[in-house]
């Protein structure tokens, strides 16, 4: 209940932030701009729209996380607004959960709006058949952003906004390459191999959320993939938030 109040407030904070509006406007503008490139796409306009549109959802979503999420908790500590919250009967884990839920909700709005614009562009051009593929791909992109938000909350609760940004972007990049990392681990000898395997297990498995290539061809994924990705996102976020809560519990607010 109290986590929901924090979540509502965080959602309000994110949606009233000009950064989010700016990102949405830029995202819509980029998707519209792809229509101008249609002539150069040699009959691949719909593929270009889907590919660029879904990339815009991930890219601009990540930008929102960097602009808002990585300072989500650190800013509250720096500005001392956290005093007004944690001096009330609310546990620190509930506070972090609320922050994560609030920003994730704002990101789902970004995903929904940009996804809708992509679908509208396709409809206008008479490629309505891409709808289910775009919806699934947007859903997975939303899950990916939810996982990265969890990491941003963790790092934001433990370090400064600058370091938090570096860690979050670093984990995002490593997460995108987690399958390559696992391949390297297979081939690397001894301790290096073990280290790489551990690292590959720790960073988020983000390729599981990427079905842009499939969607660009108008193909949908399996319900098993969608279910597995959802479960993975929930478990990973649960672990990350539990870690954040454990570290945040002993923190002093001077």
């Amino acid at each position: 209940m109290k986590a929901a109040a924090i979540a509502r407030n965080t959602f309000r904070e994110a949606t009233r932030d000009r950064a989010l509006t700016g990102v949405l406007v830029a995202g819509v503008a980029l998707i519209l701009a792809t229509q101008a490139l249609g002539a150069l796409a040699l009959g691949e306009e719909s593929r270009l729209t889907v590919d660029l549109g879904l990339s815009a959802i991930s890219g601009f979503g990540l930008l929102v996380i960097v602009l808002v999420g990585t300072s989500l908790v650190a800013k509250e500590i720096e500005r001392r607004t956290i005093f007004n919250l944690l001096s009330r009967p609310i546990g620190r884990p509930a506070y972090l959960l609320g922050k994560w839920l609030g920003l994730s909700s704002a990101l789902w709005v970004v995903v929904a709006v940009l996804g809708l614009v992509v679908w509208l562009m396709l409809e206008v051009r008479g490629h309505g058949g891409y709808g289910p593929a775009v919806a699934e791909a947007a859903y997975l992109a939303g899950l990916e952003l939810t996982v990265v938000t969890g990491l941003a909350v963790l790092f934001s609760a433990l370090s400064t906004p600058v370091l938090s940004t570096l860690y979050t972007v670093g984990f995002y990049c490593a997460g995108q390459w987690s399958w390559d990392l696992r391949d390297f681990a297979e081939r690397a000898p001894g301790a290096l191999g073990v280290t790489l395997r551990v690292a590959a297990d720790l960073v988020p498995n983000l390729p599981i959320f990427n079905m842009r290539a499939l969607a660009a061809h108008g193909q949908v994924t399996t319900p098993f993939h969608l279910g597995l990705a959802t479960l993975y996102a929930l478990v990973y976020c649960g672990c990350v938030l539990a870690l954040a809560a454990a570290a945040f519990e002993s923190r002093d607010f001077k």
Partner: protein
Amino acid sequence: MRTSAAPASGWPTPGRLPDAPDHPPEALAIRTAGLSKSYRHNWTGRIVTGLDELNLEVRLGEVMGYLGPNGAGKTTTLKLLTGLLKPTRGDAWLMGVPIQQVSSRRRIGFLPEQPYFYEYLNGMEYLELAGQLSGLAGQEAHQQARGWLGRVGLGERPRLVLRKYSKGMLQRLGLAAALLHQPDVLILDEPMSGLDPFGRRDVRDLILEQRERGTTVLFSSHILPDVEILCDRVAIILGGRLTRVATVGQLVGASHQQVEIRCTVVPPFAPEPGLVGTVERRDRPHETSFLLHDDTRLGEMLAWLLRVGAQVRAVTPQRATLEELFLATAARADADGHADERRSA
């Protein structure tokens, strides 16, 4: 409890209720036992003590002023009580519940020093959030928020965003946020700091109103006249150690009383030998005033003035203010500290 800090001159032992040494714990709103906080410097590893073995008991329904210079440990104490800092040692209870438990904060209202607010919210939204976090259901939080916004004089523009609030308005909003769930214990950190006289009066009135309601209030302040008006008892903390706890009356009454005597111009006679050293003379163009440091010698002094032909115009007892007593206590503690350092050297 640091008994060595208590002078042997009849002062109550720090922290204990002066008239009820064995007060049952259930009658206490706030209780700390050996509460301590130390910080380790990140680079040097040096340990700095912010609060040292605090033993404090605040009775239900009383208003206690918490005094001390900057860096004495006042804010540290209040943050420990409200869960913003974790104690290094010791325990504390709020309404009988250990401060380690989140539920200990259910019945308290807290106003931090120079409170900061979410600038993107309006007054109504902020108070609703505060109410919900303090355990009020949505509709009740809304009603209380509306009511309290009006009570602190901000009800005319409930949708005004907080970035447009003045400092005084923010302070009043902070107080409303601390009060809207009707807490049993109110903890205020420098609630009058930075306010103009009108703002101070408003805050004072709110505290007095809460006292009437039976709310226990613990507040730190630098504005000693306000403390003198509001408090049943005061606790003085210096260098992280509690040095005095007493009623304002005990503190002020225990000091020596001075008397000012104003009269017509008195020729420059020396006072009688018995009064030398107890009286200060000040000559002005149309009058002479004397400050008698020992009020028990007043009769003697007046008799001497009549003998030398002076016409007495006014005799005014001068009570030491809490501020003077606080400064004297601080100076004494400082001197004791230096003496300790010299002894240990």
